[in-house]
């Protein structure tokens, strides 16, 4: 019992905050991208789709390496961000958010895109015929019809961000309250041979992840069988 009382909860809160911020932003970014990919055909669309899917297959260390170089104040992008916007993306929470946006993007875009593509075109055409604009059709007609896909996107992005490790290890700098997320804290505790603390964090992450997935599956089942 002492363990739970003495446990440093900061890494857990930080992880949840990171996942929440990332998922919210991804929802805002992901919906327009997904609907654009679902409803338009253009040259180079495959290239864009391949780029968005890259984080599915790339080792996080590859992303981490490129982010490290890109965000570094010694290189053009990082220097520009620091000089003109006073934005620092290495060793900061903001940096983790930006990296997570790329890292979890396919988990948001893919379900929404698939959901939209599976809707009958007549739904969209009916809305247009009734004089609704493109964006109104999307928000009022199409999105309400793909709630399970939206939920899947939200949950997968959230869960995937919680599971982020290699990327944070490379660009985080292990700062308590800033970049020391739960997965890193577990790694640290194991290396320090404090297995009880590692157990506590691991168990919490396991419970959170399982709880989220359980909720999704039960909600989605209800929606499908209405």
């Amino acid at each position: 019992m002492h363990l739970w009382m003495d446990l440093d909860w900061q890494p857990i809160w930080l992880t949840l905050r990171l996942a929440l911020v990332t998922t919210t932003l991804l929802l805002l970014i992901g919906i327009p991208i997904a609907s654009w990919l679902a409803y338009t055909r253009f040259r180079g669309k495959s290239i864009l789709e391949a780029i968005i899917s890259l984080p599915l297959v790339l080792p996080p260390s590859v992303l981490g390496f490129y982010f490290l170089l890109t965000f570094s104040p010694a290189h053009a992008v990082g220097q520009w961000l620091a000089m003109y916007l006073d934005v620092h993306l290495l060793f900061t929470f903001q940096g983790l958010v930006v990296a997570s946006l790329f890292y979890s993007l396919p988990f948001m875009v893919h379900p929404i895109q698939a959901g939209l593509e599976n809707l009958s075109p007549s739904l969209r055409e009916a809305a247009y015929t009734l004089g609704k604009s493109r964006s109104e059709t999307l928000w009022r007609v199409l999105l309400p019809n793909i709630k399970p896909a939206l939920l899947t996107g939200i949950v997968l992005s959230f869960a995937h961000t919680i599971g982020e490790f290699g990327l944070v290890l490379m660009i985080g700098g292990n700062l308590p309250g800033q970049t020391r997320v739960a997965s890193i804290a577990i790694y640290d505790e194991v290396e320090l041979l404090r297995y009880d603390t590692a157990h506590a964090y691991a168990l919490l992450l396991l419970a959170i992840s399982f709880g989220i997935l359980l909720a999704v599956y039960s909600i989605n089942k209800r929606w499908v069988t209405f």
Partner: protein, 248 residues
Amino acid sequence: MRSWLVVVLFFLGSHLQAQKLRIAVAANAQFVVEKLQAEFERQTRIELEPIVNSSGKLTAQIQQGAPFDVFLSADMTYPNALYQSGQATTKPAVYAYGVLVLWASKDLDVSKGLALLTSDQVRKIAVANPKTAPYGAAATEVLTRQQLLGKLQPKIVYGESIAQVNQYLVSGAVDAGFTAKSVVLEPSLQGKGNWAPVKGAAPIPQGVVLLKGASANARRFYDFLFSPPARAIFQQYGYQLPSTSSTR
């Protein structure tokens, strides 16, 4: 028939590889070990396989039964702990004394010493995790003693080992960092930044132990570390040497 032969050779090959000596190396010694490896392999034809990490992480791995033969630590505490727990079969012996240096990007003047770190030019400082990396612990200790740690805390980021500190500095992610003299003397890293020894930091005694279950060849590498050619290589990389009649 022939394809079977290929499969058999493949597995045989991986078995042969397992005969290599596995040397767990503290990050500060990663470059010097490459040199030692070349010399040792030339002398004995025994192949080495260095595994680089912070001393604390390597110790944790050894305690969990990692199949290493020899452990070159960055301090005496970790090898001592392994000796006490029976995972090391020899008493820790000092193979070299490491020197802590301040390494900063090219446009910074390190001759000012630690005072440089308080200037606005230095935005981020990399220190190896003091909980697992002896050079990180040494750096933290000096900063604490000079009452700079509190002031510098917002600028400090922690690397897994000094290997990550080096990587942060070389990639320009930080402006300054604490590393080992053996790193900044590595020929391939010349011109990457300015460095100066940290005043007030005592040389760090670094211990080596033979690990339980080590192969017979491990002893030869262990003895090699104290031979004149190896000592010359350590010296070339800025280490101070234990006297030849040390307590080995």
